[in-house]
Each structure stands twice: as structure tokens, then as C-alpha cells.
Symmetry: C2
Subunit: 164 residues, 2 copies
């Protein structure tokens, strides 16, 4: 992770892409979301979705996998360049998780993140708080999922912010 | 699913309970959230969590599993009683997903749902919109996760609501 100071407002980054195969859609849904339109092609064809599609929770779990991979890759490159690696705090959660369109078997979903707010934490001066708008689009460019996250990122400058 | 008309404001229901074993915490995290405090006991002991704990996405995926099971069980009982079963529409998403405390290996999480709002859909008179506050508590009664969902539930009365 880069330090809070190195993350700019408005910055956009690609998180990664993933192909949702029928096999993994059915495997995830069998474990966590066993509704017929996620587990069975024939039943899905007769449902309001019209074809096998991924559990919404599968879509966001794949986003998490790509996000963790992107952060770990960034840390590796920083270490190779002899740069310090900032700590990333625990996630307090997410807001406004929207499943906008189905993710069908065979779809490729590409995720992107935009920094929409950044501020030093008042109560914990070693941390900054970053707000991220995450979106996933399918191969046709249609937005299929969006959600807003807040993360704590280590500050290089540990000075508490001035009172407002 | 019961019909919209049969679901009361303020109604609370248990969704189910689940024991998060170390094995399944590591299996989920290996696939979707490979951070050391979710995949390795020794690394987790040295992390800010202090012990192996579940990915937040694992916690909500297990909630989904229990929710689907509860709805399917309700449908089975309605059919056995010769009652009609209402359709449940696709979920448009969730709000305010908060991971409040870690879910550690061995923890039993019990989920509960409260109906906090209910209204007929203006644009689609065959559906009602229900807002649900979902919470998960550990065996000590501590809230570990909460989130707000909206679901479309079939109305028995398909009359459009009066204009406001």
C-alpha cells in the first residue's frame, strides 16, 4: 500500500478483471446462495434472469480477491524499489452496495476504483481515511455492481490535523 | 415467502446460526480474501486481530446461505399447509454494511432480521418493498455485523396504491 499522502483525490485505478465461469458460479452458489437461477442452467433459463447468473455475493467476493491481489502486487513493487510499504487498516464496512445487472456465466467483469474523498483521521493521527467508489462493468461496458468503501491507510506524517 | 400483506412492521425473526471453523475460514479466504490474518493462525496471532478470523465477505456469504435456507423452509411449510407461496423479487442491493467486531475461529454467529419499513411499490403494483435490518451476534451477544437490505415481495392485493 502507498501512504495516505501518495493517494490523490479523483485518482482512478483498475482493480482487475475476472471471467465468471458456469462452474464457479454454481460452486459458490451451492455453498452460499443455493437459489435455482445460480445453481442450475435449466431452472435459470425459466427464471426472470433468463440464464445462469452469479450470486451478488460471489461478484463482490471476486472483487475482494482482485483487490487483495492488487494491494499485494503494489507492496511487492514498492519493496523491490526499496520504498517503505504503508499499513492498511481493517475495513469498517461498505455503503450502497448495488447489484445493477446480472453477471451471467461467461461474462468478464472489470473492476475500477475511484478515490472520492480523503482526510486525516482526527482520532487516530497515524491514519488517513480514504473513500473509494468501486464499480464493476461487463464486457459490454454495462455497470453490474457498485459500492462505496472506506479504508484506513497509514500516514507518513503522523501529526494530528488542526482543529476545524 | 409469505405475501407482503402478511409481513408486519417491527417483526423480528431469527435467520439461523453458524459456527465458523478455522478450516472453512481458511478455505473461503484462500479463494476470496487471502490476507494472512484470514489464512494462517500464526500470522493472525501477530496481526492486530490477535487470532484467526473470518473475512467480512465470508460472514455475509454465510448470512445469505442461512437466509436462503430460511426462505426455502418457509415455502416448504406453506406448501405443506396448502397455502400459496409469494414470489421474492431480485435484491437491488444493501446499505450500511458494517463489520463491527472480528468473527474468530470457533465463534457461533446468530443472525436476526427486523422489518423496519414496508410499502407497496408505486411503479410495480404487484410488488411490495420491505426494508430489513440484519444483524449477526456472537456467542457473547456482541454485534459483529449489521446491514440493511431492501427486498421486493409479491402482494396478494395487486391494486396500485393511491397517489400521495
Amino acid at each position: 500500500m502507498r501512504f495516505f499522502e501518495d493517494i490523490a483525490l479523483g485518482e482512478r485505478r483498475e482493480t482487475g478483471s475476472h471471467v465468471f465461469t458456469a462452474e464457479e458460479i454454481k460452486r459458490f452458489a451451492g455453498a452460499f446462495d443455493p437459489q435455482p437461477f445460480h445453481t442450475d442452467e435449466a431452472a435459470a433459463a425459466k427464471s426472470h434472469f433468463g440464464a445462469l447468473c452469479a450470486s451478488g455475493w460471489h461478484t463482490v467476493a471476486v472483487w475482494m480477491k482482485l483487490h487483495v491481489r492488487a494491494v499485494q502486487e503494489e507492496d511487492r513493487m514498492l519493496r523491490e524499489a526499496g520504498q517503505p510499504v504503508a499499513r492498511l487498516g481493517p475495513s469498517p464496512g461498505f455503503e450502497a452496495l448495488k447489484w445493477l445487472k446480472p453477471v451471467y456465466a461467461g461474462d468478464t467483469i472489470s473492476f475500477e476504483t475511484e478515490v472520492t474523498s480523503r482526510r486525516p483521521s482526527r482520532s487516530r493521527p497515524e491514519w488517513g481515511v480514504i473513500t473509494l467508489e468501486n464499480t464493476g462493468r461487463n464486457q459490454a461496458g454495462e455497470e453490474v455492481v457498485s459500492f462505496t468503501g472506506h479504508v484506513f491507510v497509514e500516514r507518513r506524517d503522523k501529526t494530528p490535523p488542526e482543529p476545524a
